[in-house]
């Protein structure tokens, strides 16, 4: 049995894993960089240790330091979350050698599947359909050009160690390849510490549909259904849902069986995801395998009723899977929106900084896996994801309505966020009809003009509110962003006003 787990991550996923540990009676160890001293995962963990300066290479990518703190704290396992060291086979191997359980697949399976080029070779051996292209890393722009000519443009350049859309480029014209190759290499080197890139043929208007797998250490592997992740920007998933509106029971079975075959052939254990592209004719092509927990795992948890992090930990303890494939049933529909600190009205520029005011939604069918709080300063050093907002309802239509309701409750002030974009996408006729593919969001955004994001509103109220804020500004409380506490006379009058309002209106709710 595991008694103490070190969580080698930050943000919402560190908190999500920490919560699972608490539920299972396991102590938690957090690690943090200088930018994250006040981060929620540090506040909530039983123990926390400083790794180093803010840049990931000096902190969350320091496997040596993380192992040091695991030993020092007496942790018997490390959960890597996603990103950072989660798909680093050398780190998984170092954990194995140190006698600390790495909560994920064995380093051998990770090496075989974690590198996208290797995974394509394994897929060939397991007989999975895959996209045409290279199965090895490319040494030079010239070699890249040769492969691209063979499979035919347009092509995708991808980082073999990649994830999250980094180091990835779509190339339509041969003359753009050389520059894109260099850029993809350098982005891959910086993001993953490996500049290996490869090419695959670009499938036109595909859907991105992935299969969640869970495998124990006794040779059992079960598919937990699919996730539809076609709503992407710059190859980065933005909205995910389960199940997919276009996957029939039969297609789900075939994709699930292919995914299980791949995992078993590589000796895979723990949670993993096999990504496929699905074309208009419902043909599916193996894309890559993510050898870790995915950002979007909550939608699968909601429709299957199984807690994936609990399962990961129980499998790491050597327990057999508590269910068989036939027992997996999907119920209802779940949608996830990835809430980012970025400004859709200004070229999606990242928007780090202090969250001065935060009003988070709640109520029936809403789950939020968040890594923020009011007053938290979102660092500029990491991925700008703030939170994942997830809605669950009996049908897709109701899940959309529920998500819109939650989005309308949500306010983030002090920094910009993409909440407004979600409010528009979830009202879009094509999205509502599930007419989506990986190019859907780009087409939607091409018609999206800065400044036309306003929902209908009462301008009288806006004018009155602005005037009110200005008139009371010197009191420093209504508008204060530096101080989060009312003070002095204003405090008394604010309280009087608030109490007066409640007494007069009886708004106890």
């Amino acid at each position: 049995m595991l008694r103490k787990i070190l969580i080698a991550n930050r943000g919402e996923i560190a908190l999500r894993i920490l919560r699972a540990c608490r539920e299972l009676g396991i102590s938690t160890v957090a690690v943090f960089s200088d930018a994250d001293r006040a981060a929620p995962h540090v506040l909530e963990a039983d123990e926390a240790y400083r790794l180093g300066p803010a840049p990931a290479v000096d902190s969350y990518l320091r496997g040596d330091l993380i192992l040091h703190f695991a030993r020092r704290s007496g942790a018997d396992a490390i959960h890597p979350g996603y990103g950072f060291l989660s798909e680093n086979a050398d780190f998984a191997r170092a954990c194995e050698q140190a006698g600390i359980k790495f909560i994920g697949p064995p380093s051998t399976a990770m090496r075989a599947l974690g590198s996208k080029t290797n995974a394509r070779q394994v897929a060939d051996q397991a007989g999975l359909p895959r996209t045409p292209g290279s199965v090895h890393g490319l040494a030079s722009p010239e070699e890249a050009a040769e492969v691209a000519e063979t499979v035919g443009y347009p092509v995708m350049l991808k980082a073999a160690a990649g994830g999250g859309g980094k180091g990835m480029r779509a190339i339509v014209r041969a003359e753009d390849l050389a520059e894109a190759f260099i850029a993809a290499q350098s982005e891959a080197e910086r993001a993953f510490g490996s500049d290996e890139v490869y090419i695959e043929k670009l499938i036109e208007r595909p859907r991105h549909i992935e299969i969640q797998l869970i495998a124990d250490e006794h040779g059992h592997c079960v598919s937990l259904g699919e996730r539809e992740c076609s709503v992407q920007r710059r190859h980065q998933k933005v909205i995910e849902e389960a199940p997919s509106a276009v996957v029939s029971h039969e297609l789900r079975r075939r994709m699930g069986e292919a995914a299980v075959r791949l995992a078993l052939s590589a000796g895979y254990t723990n949670a993993g995801t096999v990504e496929f592209l699905v074309d208009a004719g419902q043909n599916f092509y193996f894309l890559e395998m993510n050898t870790r927990l995915q950002v979007e795992h909550p939608v699968t948890e909601l429709v299957t009723g199984h807690d994936l992090v609990h399962l990961q930990i129980r499998i790491a303890q050597g327990e057999p899977l508590p269910f068989a494939q036939e027992e997996i049933q999907l119920r209802g529909h779940a949608i996830e929106c990835r809430v980012y600190a970025e400004d859709p009205e200004n070229g999606f520029l990242p928007s780090p900084g202090r969250i001065t005011r935060l009003i988070q939604p709640g109520g029936p069918g809403i789950r939020e896996d968040s890594g923020i709080y009011e007053g938290w300063v979102v660092p500029a050093d990491y991925d700008p994801m703030l939170s994942k907002l997830i809605a669950f309802a009996p049908t897709r239509e109701l899940a959309i309505a529920r998500m819109l309701r939650a989005l309308d409750e949500y306010v983030i002030a002090g920094i910009r966020s993409n909440l407004g974009l979600f409010r528009r996408v979830l009202r879009d006729a094509d999205f509502c009809a599930a007419h989506i593919d990986t190019g859907y969001l780009d087409r939607f955004l091409a018609q999206y003009r800065p400044g036309d994001t306003s929902a209908p509103h009462d301008s009288t109220a806006a004018v009155a509110a602005a005037a009110l804020i200005e008139v009371t500004r010197n009191n420093n409380a209504v508008t204060s962003t530096a101080s989060l506490q009312p003070s002095g006379n204003w405090k008394a009058s604010a309280r009087r006003e608030a109490v007066g309002g409640i007494n007069h209106k009886g708004r106890h709710g």
Partner: protein
Amino acid sequence: MRLELEIEGHTHQIEANRPDPAGLWRFRVDGQPIDADVCLIRPGVLSLLVDGQSHRIVVDLDPNGFSLHLGTTRIPYRIGDPRSLRFRRSHAGTDAPVAIKASMPGRIVRVLVEKGAAIAAHQGILVIEAMKMQNELKSPRDGSVADIRVSPGDTVSTGDILVLIE
């Protein structure tokens, strides 16, 4: 108290009177009276009842100035002093140069325009890398490039002027 307010492209003359003990504020907006029942929920968060309509207001402030969230809409606004009309000169005209500033620390990857070049609204000006992502900054309006103050490779801080558009 009198003030001038520019919001959503309109300028309004406002007269605000202190609230009565029940928290009722009386405004005159361009001469029209408006009664607002105001309740401070907590600093920066207000409830407004105007003609029975309930509004939740959250005050927002970032390097670009004040705005408020009215329900799901973020509305930037500017306050002018009626005697100086400062904002009119600095904002209302379109011939004043507009400074494109860095809204966060980052590194300049590419400059897409040349000094003196004519540019259209929404045209890309430069590419900045921040939070590991490359982003293209676009021109807020039609005009020409008056000055370029950065080069590829430069590290910039929040608020640095990158390009001037006139």
